[in-house]
Symmetry: C2
Subunit: 337 residues, 2 copies
């Protein structure tokens, strides 16, 4: 080989070796998002707040990002997954509660009587949640939730619930963390349930999961210590409860918030009302084919007032059907519009 | 120079260059601690849980360390500093509360009538705390606390309260973080007060400060959003309240806990009751000359039951007078025993 050619080749190879990882990295950002308005808004926000010396720079310690869970990070149809857990727990725990055979709404659950169950309404549902989530130690509850999550499957996909998470949102969480953000869940779901899987599934450690809480009591039973879960609602982490818990747990205002329903409205408002550059996003369930399509009329995850607010305020509205190439990690076929 | 000698010198120089940083690092660990039982116990614990492949190894995510604040990270005499803040706030806010001139225990505070104030007891104290800490937005409270911390000085040292922190404990916090620990405050103090200075003074961000909380309410006043602090006690983060809040906020059990009083007993018990290697420490106030000396008989920071527990369980008891070379960062003269 001519020495000149050899030198050129070497130089070319070196340039390739240097640039390839950069190209790969650029291509890797949010790969399951079509390159539409939402993806561009996310990337432009992150680049602005991380640009050292830029006018919108935010120090890493203040890069707090909060996410709703149900309908934002995983599906919530045909019903909140935690409610499905509670219903399954009634069946599993029934042998220890012979009285449930005769007592509503437990009787309806055991007999698969959906009509009576639905008629018991929110009050009946809370009775079922309280019965299956409290009056036990935090360790027992953890084990119960873990067992269910490891074995139960979704009625439509027949997959574990922890696989019904949104691939594009997993990528968003990772992208934010790669850019120095601390990612939190702030959800109406009960906190201990989410903590069982949030670290493995979302990469969010227990201490960054905030949710609805029951009362608790430290017990010293002859040297055997436990935290007992009490049948009293301590905090309902929905609507205005979200900025309240953000203030209580985090003690600073997020700069990015993502939700999908009216229960997230105040969290998004609170996030946007701070100084400096901020980001509010809503997942809009528009995909009846691959996921579900619902908004203003839905009982689960109703998106009505927050949809108006998003349009009025120019918040990012993610059109799931149009903007997401994949919904779930197990979706193999990509979709590009 | 003979080539052999040159090689030897080079080798020797290289060895020195390699070993110097290690030596420097070793010398820097906990420099304000005399090399006694407590320092050795801390280092041996940290080395054990961080030794990759060792039998006591703990993954970084589970290296949770919790610290009481009053009497553990800073002084608490002649009275909890937050109580001194509340008393000063009564005086500062008095013009807006003309009724306080005639109403106890406020009248006693304004007139410097210590006897009447003391007679009002815990009930009177709570009234003063509630009046100065609630019925305002979280932002107003933050500003009030920040102003006081920036201007008020301790009656004995005449220094800002944020300088009355324990230099050896600052070093311990940094040493733990250098070894992959996440450091938390879990204190009977009110959480928003501590969050004003914890990041700057201790390197502990707001979201890792847990404490006593008041109720709160999100308010939308014609588009002006705020978190209002309500005059109701939501959680008393003392005694059994500490493991309760650890479970609620962190969601996993610490592997290291440090306190100084009976209010920390359950937190230490809860920490030690987990599996694997664990560490419980108590700061014992034995230094009447440089700080204060008190334990079983003290009204502030009483150490009685927890002292018995420490002795019975072999927890680390830090003898401040004997084991700490310096108390405060402003102490120049080192002390070695």
């Amino acid at each position: 080989m001519h020495p000149h050619l050899a030198r050129s080749l070497t130089r070319w190879t070196l340039a390739l070796l240097v640039s390839l990882p950069l190209l790969a990295q650029a291509a890797e950002v949010l790969p399951s998002w079509n390159d539409g308005a939402s993806r561009q808004a996310i990337i432009s926000f992150v680049e602005a707040v991380t640009e050292q010396g830029g006018k919108d720079f935010v120090p890493p310690a203040e890069r707090i990002a909060v996410f709703d869970n149900d309908g934002t990070l995983w599906s919530e149809q045909p019903m909140y997954f935690q409610v499905l857990f509670a219903l399954d727990e009634v069946k599993r725990q029934a042998p220890q509660h012979p009285e449930w055979k005769e007592r509503q709404p437990f009787k309806a659950v055991l007999e698969g009587d959906r009509k009576t169950l639905a008629a018991s309404g929110l009050k009946g549902l809370m009775e079922i949640i309280i019965a299956t989530h409290t009056n036990m130690s935090s360790e027992t509850f953890h084990d119960n939730a873990q067992r269910w999550l490891a074995t139960a499957t979704h009625p439509r996909s027949h997959r574990p619930y922890t696989e019904m998470v949104f691939q594009p949102m997993l990528e968003l969480l990772a992208y934010l963390r790669d850019n120095g953000f601390k990612t939190y869940i702030v959800s109406g779901g009960e906190v201990a349930f989410m903590r069982v899987f949030a670290e493995e599934v979302y990469g969010i450690p227990p201490e960054q999961v905030i949710g609805t809480t029951f009362g608790s009591r430290f017990e010293d039973n002859g040297g055997k210590l436990s935290i007992q879960r009490l049948p009293t609602l301590a905090h309902n982490d929905d609507g205005p409860g979200k900025p309240e818990s953000i203030d209580q747990y985090i003690g600073r205002r997020p700069i990015l918030a993502f939700g999908n329903s009216d229960g997230d409205l105040q969290m998004l408002q609170w996030t946007m009302a701070g100084n400096g550059k901020r980001f509010a996003g809503l997942v809009h369930h528009t995909d009846a084919e691959r996921e579900w399509a619902y908004d203003r009329q839905s009982d689960v995850g109703r998106l009505d007032k927050a949809l108006d607010a998003a349009k009025a305020q120019g918040w990012v509205l993610v059109d799931m059907a149009r903007e997401w190439k994949r919904i779930y990690p197990f979706d193999q076929a990509g979709k590009s519009n």
